[in-house]
């Protein structure tokens, strides 16, 4: 018996070494993402905070000295309260922040009812027939369509409306809402509503699939119990199933919206990449909404810019100073996204803990 043991021992040691090495490789791969994330945050943060450079480094031009008196670091209140500018020291993200805010609100308004509605239809009403299978396959394919294709669709369907309205260029549809009227340009042209609709199409598959999963997780005993009490199908869904699935739906929706918030490509193609020095509906603070409520109705049909677009514009700018502005913009965008992600994770955590069927 001693012979085979001796023969196997070095072999066994080698196998253990391979095992250990493999574990280290895998562990390293797992940390790789974290390390890159750290480097990314550090390099961007460093870029954002090293602005403005000390005066000594600046070429002494008369403009610079004038600017210096009224300028401040990117991540100061000034950065948040001014529009983009030809002078890097005066540029800010006011228009971009309000544009992004409007986009998110509009996308949520469009995508949540439609997305949850589709999911409810697929999970609760559709019997496992051809239609459901087709829709389901279609959804999984739509989820994989690149955002730039949605951008093309948005440009064709919303900005140009397939060319159906080319004859009466500049016309607009006036909708009478009893107390006030809204001018709806047709086609929508490069307005917020075009952007919002494009992003809605982009996130819908994600929202639908997430909602479907949340609905599927609701135990069927809840439905049966509700039916047994004489509830109709819609009452059962409305009062039992959707409330029970709400945390899951919310998580999915927030993650989808945060994805929409970071998307630049669709907005670029619909032509939002322009110099914009106003906010949608001229609303720059909450109090403006009360002063000028009509701005709320006008805003969706205004031209706009958004955070990722503004960032891209600054990245692409030949003057190096704008690189720092881009970094500052990225910090703002990442902070918002991180907050949204945290909210989503917290909701999911709470939900996992306190529900036991």
């Amino acid at each position: 018996m001693s012979v085979p043991t001796k023969l196997q021992e070095p072999h066994l040691a080698r196998r253990h070494r391979i095992d250990k090495a493999f574990e280290w490789v895998c562990c390293g791969s797992t940390w790789f993402g974290v390390v890159v994330l750290g480097m990314l945050l550090l390099s961007v943060g460093w870029k954002a905070l090293t602005w403005p450079p000390s005066k000594a480094k600046l070429p002494s031009s008369p403009v610079a000295t004038v600017e210096a008196t009224s300028s401040s670091a990117p991540l100061s209140t000034r950065f948040f309260s001014s529009y983009d500018s030809r002078k890097p020291r005066e540029a800010g993200i006011l228009a971009a922040i309000w544009g992004s805010l409007w986009l998110i609100v509009l996308v949520a308004l469009f995508s949540v009812p439609i997305g949850v509605g589709s999911a409810v239809y697929l999970e609760e009403y559709a019997n496992d027939g051809r239609l459901k299978r087709i829709i389901q396959v279609n959804l999984s394919n739509l989820a994989g369509v690149p955002s730039i294709v949605y951008a093309l669709l948005g440009m064709t369907a919303f900005v140009k409306m397939f060319g159906f309205f080319t004859k009466d260029e500049g016309k607009s549809l006036v909708i009478n809402l009893l107390f006030t009227t809204v001018d709806v340009p047709l086609p929508f042209d490069r307005t917020l509503i075009s952007g919002a609709l494009t992003l809605t199409l982009l996130v819908l598959p994600t929202v639908i699939v997430a909602s479907q999963e949340a609905l599927r997780a609701v135990p069927s005993s809840i439905r049966t119990a509700s039916y047994a009490l004489g509830a109709t199908q819609w009452q059962t869904i409305r009062y039992q199933v959707i409330p029970a699935a709400m945390p899951g739906i919310m998580t999915g929706v927030i993650l989808a919206l945060s994805r929409a918030m970071g998307e630049a490509a669709p907005l670029m193609l619909i032509g939002a990449l322009t110099y914009v020095a106003y906010t949608p509906g001229d609303i720059t603070s909450v109090s403006d909404i009360f002063k000028n409520p009509h701005g709320l109705l006008d805003a969706p049909f205004d031209k706009f810019t958004a955070l990722p677009l503004q960032i891209y514009q600054w990245i692409n700018h030949p003057r190096a100073e704008y690189g720092h502005l881009a970094a500052a913009g990225i910090m703002v965008l990442l902070t918002i996204l991180l907050l949204m992600n945290t909210v989503a994770i917290v909701i999911r955590h709470k939900f996992q803990k306190c529900t036991r069927w």
Partner: protein, 330 residues
């Protein structure tokens, strides 16, 4: 036990039972709600139809009288075989090859980096890591997946090229590295697909029944043997599906490659030069505010259509593989 006696009957006994359906708002609402929800669900079908309609009318065959679609002006042969892409010059060439080349070189570099790392991370998370570590790591991966594409592009431009690629390749090896280069785009693309690969592969690995692992250990295998020779082969099709989905995402990725790789259509395999992908061309063309109706404008749809077909093909393949995998274990 005075319970029931203390309570008066809720209502007097019912007389005359009526079960018949009768018109009521509640019933009308049921039907209405159902119709509205069906409408919502068919919206996704409508989206697909709109995409197909758009590509067919703008790229293949125009239905509006007096206008022509892209392929009515440029032959399919030219589009596929011409080696030059120069829509903005006087001497216009519409050969998709340089754009395809840029797309596949960059997506290839991204895959070479992202797929193995993503898979290794998935193996670590599903086979080695403690549950606590996994719970901690998942949100980090989610954050990584949630970082916008523009940010990765910026990272490639201000960090990867000057601080990682140039010191290694230019200073050490003497290869010229452009500011905009395919390599940096590929590197960040690799990072971007790690979360996709990792979470989908991990799902596939974890779906492998425990019994299989235990059988492996019972034969005296190390963890390495079990992971690589038992679990990974068992989850193979799920892993392949995750790879396909990730590659398809890499091909469709826009802003990062547009920023990092620049916009120089080039039919070459040198990853240290600037290249243009299909997506970057589409962004670039839209920047110049190309007027509708010009051939340049129509070329957007032709390129978009090509991209759409490639990613669609890969997605369908991935879903097919994935379903095969599910059949085995469910």
């Amino acid at each position: 036990m005075s319970l029931a006696n203390a309570v008066s009957p809720l209502t007097p006994p019912k007389t005359g039972l009526r079960l018949q359906k009768q018109f009521s708002w509640a019933r009308a609402r049921e039907a209405g709600v159902r119709a509205v929800l069906l409408g919502c669900a068919s919206l996704s079908l409508l989206t697909t139809l709109a995409i197909v309609y758009m590509f067919l009318t703008e790229a293949v065959y125009s239905v509006t009288p007096g206008t022509t679609a892209f392929f009515q002006e440029v032959s399919l042969w030219n589009f596929l075989a011409d080696t030059e892409w120069s829509p903005q010059f006087a001497d216009k060439h519409f050969g998709i090859l340089p754009l395809l080349c840029g797309t596949f070189v960059i997506a290839g570099i991204g895959s070479l980096i992202g797929l193995p790392i993503g898979l290794a991370a998935a193996i670590y998370l599903s086979e080695y890591a403690k549950p606590k570590f996994r719970r901690m790591m998942k949100p980090v991966l989610e954050v990584l997946a949630g970082i916008p594409s523009v940010v990765y592009g910026y990272f490639a431009l201000v960090f990867v090229t000057p601080y990682a690629l140039r010191p290694i390749f230019q200073s050490l090896l003497g290869i010229d590295v452009d500011i905009f280069n395919a390599m940096s785009a590929g590197v960040v693309l690799g990072v971007m697909i790690i979360p996709t690969v990792c979470s989908l592969s991990e799902d596939a690995l974890r779906a492998v029944p425990r019994g299989l692992r235990e059988a492996g250990y019972a034969l005296g295998s190390t963890k390495y043997d079990v992971s690589l020779k038992v679990v990974v082969p068992a989850a193979f099709s799920g892993i392949v599906a995750s790879f396909l989905l990730a590659i398809s995402r890499a091909i469709g990725e826009t802003m990062a490659v547009c920023i990092a790789a620049g916009q120089m259509p080039r039919l070459s395999l040198n990853p240290f030069r600037s290249m243009e992908t299909m997506t970057a061309y589409m962004v670039g063309a839209s920047l110049g505010d190309t007027p509708a109706g010009t051939i340049e404008y129509k070329s957007l749809y032709a390129v978009g259509f090509t991209l759409f077909l490639i990613t669609l093909g890969m997605n369908i393949l991935a879903n097919w593989v994935m379903n095969r995998f599910r059949e085995v274990y469910e």
